[in-house]
């Protein structure tokens, strides 16, 4: 295990070095902000993975937790000059004056903390996490009575209620309504802050996953009734998972608020949960590594997919449509061949192919016509792409990229413990073979194979 720990340390060191080089190189700001987003959403995805993946409960209200975290962080960290201007019409004076972390700290004489924005952020994020965790308790409670898709709908409803509340007059006293809170210090949204936050989160969740509690969660996922029969207190563990998950979701919400330097009622909507859902489904439900991989893919689509939504002459869209259709045709033919399904090409696939071919011909023949050269612009292509990715995963590879497996150094270097060595195989065969093992009853044993 020493070797594994050293390897981990070494790779963390390498990552830090790489990041440092990146920050000092020119023209890398785009990549850096993409990485920051990956780290922030990664924390949210890993926290969602605890419930959806490890515990096996579909929860659709995660955006609510992030919202709470974002707003609480914003309120606590809003600097004095942002609290006063006439712009904040709806925010109540009480909220403005009393929910000021700076004020509390100075009042307690902890000026040395109050002078450091970073230290203040740590405290603010912790409080934000706690606030979200409290809500996690509330959202987790229905999981004790409901299952499956009904529970999912309830969590969805709760998330949406949280999204709608900041707009109402009563709650706007704390959220400033649709105008939102602006001018949040951006320290916690920088690459280093988010990087180390992510490291902490990864450490925390992997420790949790490979502990007795992590096993208990997975037992509940596998078979709730059996888990209960084996002494696992379902209520306690479900609520625990929701609370921990909500805490870190709140933290990631706070980090995001700092990154954007503002929050409003549109920042955390259901699309956020959908985004995270695509990320963890793609990466593999139940796998922390998978959650990170999925988040990386999804964020990169979001950040670098802008080219899909730029204006192009119409024939380009016909051509790309044709290419998509034809590759879908080829892809499904390949899959069916690989899975030995008959017939290899079905009627509906021929339709795809035909449409693709038609589009291709039209694009080639007419590409100089005026109605082909005028520009079109497809907004929302990135979101549609994410939706299509999710549907494809559900249809073709529900377990995602990693499945439930976790990356470990054993994958590359280490010995595999679940495959018998020749020695073990011999002993196992000896066990089964009555000629060699006279103590055995007649007939032999059942597991002659590995």
């Amino acid at each position: 295990m020493m070797r594994n720990n050293l390897l981990t340390l070494a790779s963390v060191g390498l990552a830090i070095l790489a990041l440092y080089l990146l920050t000092t190189s020119e023209g890398s700001s785009g990549l850096l902000s993409a990485l920051t987003l990956i780290f922030i959403w990664g924390i949210a995805a890993v926290s969602l993975n605890l419930i959806n993946g490890q515990l096996g409960i579909l929860s659709l209200g995660h955006h609510g937790f992030m919202l709470i975290g974002g707003y609480v962080t914003a309120l606590l960290m809003l600097p004095a000059k942002e609290r006063r201007p006439f712009r904040t019409r709806l925010l109540s004076d009480w909220a403005r004056d009393h929910l000021d972390l700076d004020k509390w700290l100075r009042g307690l004489g902890l000026d040395f903390i109050a002078n450091s924005v970073d230290l203040k952020f740590i405290i603010a994020l912790f409080i934000a996490g706690l606030a979200a965790a409290l809500l996690g308790l509330l959202v987790g409670a229905p999981s004790l009575r409901l299952k499956g898709d009904y529970l999912a709908i309830v969590t969805f409803g709760m998330g949406e209620i949280l999204r709608l509340l900041p707009n109402t007059r009563e709650v706007a006293a704390f959220t400033n309504g649709p105008l939102g809170l602006k001018g949040i210090p951006g320290n916690a949204g920088t690459i280093w802050w988010t990087f180390f936050a992510l490291l902490f989160v990864l450490w925390f969740f992997s420790r949790l996953k490979f502990s007795s509690y992590g096993r208990a969660f997975e037992g509940i996922r596998e078979d709730e009734i059996a888990a209960e029969a084996m002494g696992v207190n379902l209520a306690y563990h479900k609520i625990l998972a929701f609370t921990i998950s909500a805490f870190f979701a709140g933290v990631s919400g706070g980090l995001y608020a700092s990154y954007l330097q503002s929050v409003d009622t549109q920042t955390f909507n259901f699309f956020v949960t959908f985004f995270l859902l695509v990320a963890i489904s793609l990466g593999g439900l139940g796998s922390i590594t998978g959650a990170m991989i999925g988040t990386a893919v999804v964020v990169l689509v979001r950040v670098y997919g802008g080219f899909l939504e730029m204006p192009y002459p119409a024939w380009v869209s016909y051509l790309s449509g044709a290419l998509i259709m034809l590759s879908a045709f080829a892809f499904s033919a390949y899959i069916r061949k690989a899975r030995r399904l008959r017939p290899i090409i079905e009627t509906k696939h021929y339709i795809f192919g035909a449409i693709g071919l038609a589009l291709l011909l039209v694009a080639i023949i007419f590409h100089n016509e005026p109605w082909m050269t005028q520009t079109v612009q497809f907004f929302g292509m990135r979101k549609m792409l994410l939706a299509v990715i999710l549907i494809l995963i559900m249809i073709y590879r529900r377990e995602g990229i990693m499945g439930r497996a976790e990356f470990s150094w054993k994958m590359i270097f280490g010995p595999r413990e679940d495959i018998p060595t020749d020695e073990q195989r011999k002993q196992d065969a000896w066990l089964s073979n009555p000629e060699l093992n006279p103590g055995l009853e007649e007939g032999g044993d059942d597991n002659a194979s590995a």
């Binding site: 579909l58 489904s281 549907i391």
Partner: protein, 387 residues
């Protein structure tokens, strides 16, 4: 583990809660000064319309859930498509013959395929005649007429029905037999996809929907000294809804296919063993649900005068809540739930105008409460799982 709940206890609680609410409502009515009888009638008309619309959409949810235990998150988008199809049918016609030909071929072809597979129209002669009728009829309609709302409604219903069947074939059928959470996730993804597709194809901005008929002309009648204002649509919606429900009921109870649908809803495997083509039945369910949603979409657009690609979100949620209130899986339950929700929404906002900002929040709260405390709804069966 069984919750071991005595079913009648939950019923008693529901009735008690209902009684308390009615009393509170009565007290509130008495306390308001200007809440005259005319207002009650006004609100009643509005509520009946809104409730009918919810009922139509809720039917789609409840039918699909009853047959494949899927909450079709994308149903709200089907509703939206219905409104847009009618919109384009009314604003773009009459088309020039080339466009008309194109649309006829694509839409007509799609509808024909769908109808053929849904209703077992195998005989070549019959199919040919039907095809001729459909194609010719559509072509003439599109080229020579500016379509009125009734024709647009009919065309939209057919087109949206085909869209619903397409959705099922592409997104849900490959997941037949998958765990329900996976199907729900797919439905959510389909919903997002359709929303964005709508924004892409139709433009994200809100558009006006003018039916320019007697439906929109303001009428009044007197009750005592008060005037009640209404437009024709408030009469048409309940009538059309009642008609559609009547036809639906006939279909489900009297025809062979309707019987097959009910059988599949009870036990798909056994139905299959009895010779029911389950794929066809499921496609038919989506078709019918989408037709109803399209009708609701068109009438909703006429009533509120606007359409936009995200218009299906909140009505979808509310209709789903209605379906759950009535008892998901139960057709009369969906209608009851829809009407109930319509009435609750209109009257609560009318009686407590300060709460109107919480309209949507209430819908979600209601949904959560029902799922937590009475998931079988008002009419549905007890759904507690057994070990």
């Amino acid at each position: 583990m069984t919750a071991s709940k005595n079913p009648s206890r939950s019923t008693i609680i529901t009735l008690l809660v209902g009684a308390v609410l009615v009393v509170l409502l009565g007290m509130r009515i008495a306390s308001l000064e200007n809440y005259t009888f005319a207002r009650i009638v006004q609100d009643f008309l509005n509520a009946l319309t809104l409730g009918s619309l919810y009922a139509l959409i809720a039917l789609g949810y409840t039918m699909v859930y009853g047959i494949i235990r899927l909450i079709n998150f994308a149903h709200g988008e089907i509703f939206m498509l219905g409104a847009y199809f009618a919109f384009y049918a009314m604003t773009l016609t009459p088309l020039n013959w080339a466009a008309s030909l194109l649309v006829t071929i694509i839409l007509g072809g799609a509808v024909l395929l769908v109808l053929r597979s849904l209703f077992n129209l195998e005989e070549p002669k019959r199919t040919f005649v039907l095809a001729l009728l459909i194609f010719a009829g559509t072509f003439f309609l599109l080229t020579f007429r500016k379509l009125g709302w009734i024709e647009a409604l009919a065309l939209s219903m057919l087109a949206t029905g085909a869209a619903g069947v397409l959705l099922e074939a592409v997104a849900y059928r490959p997941l037949r037999g998958a765990p329900r959470e996976s199907m729900l996730i797919t439905a959510i993804a389909a919903s997002f996809f359709l929303q964005n597709l709508g924004q892409l194809l139709f433009g994200a901005r809100v558009r006006g929907f003018n039916a320019e008929t007697i439906l929109n002309k303001s009428q009044t009648f007197q009750i005592g000294q008060e005037t009640v204002y209404f437009t024709g649509i408030l009469i048409v919606v309940p009538l059309v809804t009642a008609l559609l429900l009547f036809v639906l009921n006939l279909f489900v109870t009297r025809t062979r296919l309707g019987k097959a649908m009910r059988a599949t809803a009870q036990d798909a495997e056994v139905a299959q063993m009895m010779g029911v083509n389950v794929n066809q039945v499921i496609a038919l369910t989506f078709f019918i649900g989408s037709i109803l949603a399209a009708a609701a979409g068109v009438m909703y657009a006429i009533r509120f005068g606007q359409i936009h690609p995200l218009m299906g979100l909140m009505p979808g949620i509310k209709a789903f809540t209605a379906a759950v209130i009535g008892g998901i899986g139960s057709l009369p339950g969906a209608v009851l739930g829809g009407l109930l929700l319509g009435f609750i929404e209109i009257y609560v906002v009318s009686l407590f105008p300060t709460l109107s900002a919480y309209r949507d929040v209430f819908a979600f709260v209601l949904l959560i409460l029902i799922l937590l405390f009475r998931p079988s709804g008002l009419i549905g069966e007890d759904l507690t799982e057994k070990v």
